[in-house]
Amino acid sequence: MSKVTKVWVFAEKNTALAQLCAGGRQLGEEVSALVLGTKEEAEKAVSYGADKVYWLGSSKQDKMLEDYTATICELLKKESPNLLMMQASKRGKHVAGRLAANIGTSVIVDAAGIEIAGGMIQVKHMVYGGAAFRVERALGKTTITTVGPGLFNALPEDNSRQGSVVEVDFVEPAGSVKCLERKSKKGAEVNLSAAKRVVGIGRGIASQEDIKIVEEFAGLIGAEVGCSRPIAEGVNWMPKERYIGVSGAMLKPEVYIAIGISGQVQHMVGVNQAKVIIAVNKDKGAPIFQHTDYGIIGDLYKVLPALKELIKTNNEN
């Protein structure tokens, strides 16, 4: 694949930075990383694959990462890289949008693939709730995209790599958003994307109470519990972190078991990378059965308890 001249990368976390640097090596002749952190962290980016590091300085107690937007923007206007890849976090997307507004472009978010064809950068991303992938390109000098985990694999850290570190002066932001306090979120963070087995709950479940029937079943087989969008964002029976599908978690488990899930495309995009899909649904016409390895057309309130008994009996023997 041909390469573009200059690729820039920016991430909040080191794991993401390492992946973006590796991606940068695939796509560009010269990779520059923007790093907010200690001098050591800035130098670390070189071992991840950067040729040049724009060191934004150590993060300050009274500053948010977003406060560095004006600083990055000035650099971006001066250097006009071909491609800027940013971590697809909430912060990353916000900063990306503000930068794009300043240089006159749109951000192509959540890249599922980046290719260079005829010197042009083409970014593939999901649209219409997963119904399709769109390939799009930016018309301006710089393409800005956000990249989620897993698109690129980090290279082994190479401490012998040489690169330069350029210190960047802070540009005072115009507007005022002040962070008064940081609280850690209650409840453990769920990581459905890393789970080997996942059970998904859909609208086939009659009440919030009944979720525990599914949880017990999941517990028996050591599975995490997720849900379709209506359960998390319609009736709010489960936290948003457990919602599978577009704008929610994208899974790659060994087994996915869909309980009372109809199988709308927006949900299926989140699970179709599962090795095996099993479905329980009483509606014979549910689209889920078109995407299933093993399915049963039946009432989950009868099927699940019976399956539980079979598993228990099996475990005892």
């Binding site: 977003e66 976090s89 909430k90 997307k93 916000h94 990306a96 949008g97 503000r98 794009a100 507004a101 300043n102 472009t105 749109s106 951000v107 192509i108 978010v109 649209v127 219409y128 709730g129 119904a131 399709a132 992938f133 390939v135 799009e136 390109r137 018309l139 301006g140 507007g175 005022s176 958003v177 008064l180 940081r182 609280k183 850690s184 979120k185 963070e189 087989i221 964002e233 577009v246 087994v255 709308q264 495309v265 179709n272 899909i277 014979k284 059965f289 995407h291 299933t292 390895d293 093993y294 399915g295 049963i296 057309i297 039946g298 099927v303 019976a306 399956l307 079979l310 598993i311 099996n314």
Partner: protein, 256 residues
Amino acid sequence: MNIITCYKIVPEEQDIVVLPDRSLSFARAEWKIGQYDLNAIEAGMQIVEAAGGKVSALSVGDKQLENSKLKKGVLSRGPEDLYLVMDEQLENSDTFLTAQVLTAAIRKIGEFDLVICGEGSSDLYAQQVGAQLGEMLNIPTINGISKITPEGNKIIAERTLGNEIEVLEISLPAVVSVTTDINLPRIPSMKNILAAGKKPIIEWDLSAVGLQGVTKQTEVISTLAPENVERKKVIFEGESEEVIQKLFESIRKELL
């Protein structure tokens, strides 16, 4: 507080049909108010109901905006008036162009304290317009807002990130994008819907907001449905002990 809430008209996802060549057809699609934008409208209403003021709704797009059911749908959720910028140039607009037109429209509307956007549009979900809009209006902007408390000429807001919550002080005027957990959007009553028909709607085209000839900054090369993953499709039917036993036999190696 004068609040402007932005929304987008989107095709109902469930009506999108994948054609044999993997392209998408919207021919049978109903259009609706973006699901996440309902939270933005509701957030605006809750602020003015608590602290006084006025909510205006604003959208930019093509002729789909003419749908009178949707205009009423927005106004029945509380806003006092509705501003629309409609132009064929805005069909399949990208986020930059959308933010550019919203900026021009908001400047024409005039006085405002707070602009509220949804987390993202429910069709393309780029989550970009709020950030771009704030930057173009050259005022403070932030995303991920899950709680807003007005306090004089500023707001105190909570911002939900992956594993932390930030408490922010945002000076006004500002643009915020709100999450879906900020509230549960109200269901309009019959009375609300009837009242909505009497509220003012102001319609402009691109030249009315001084933006004739603006174009998109991105080019779509293709939009295709993903290729299907082949599945075994071993389907059982029934709830008898025997059927469930059969199912169990076929999936036991996956479960145990």
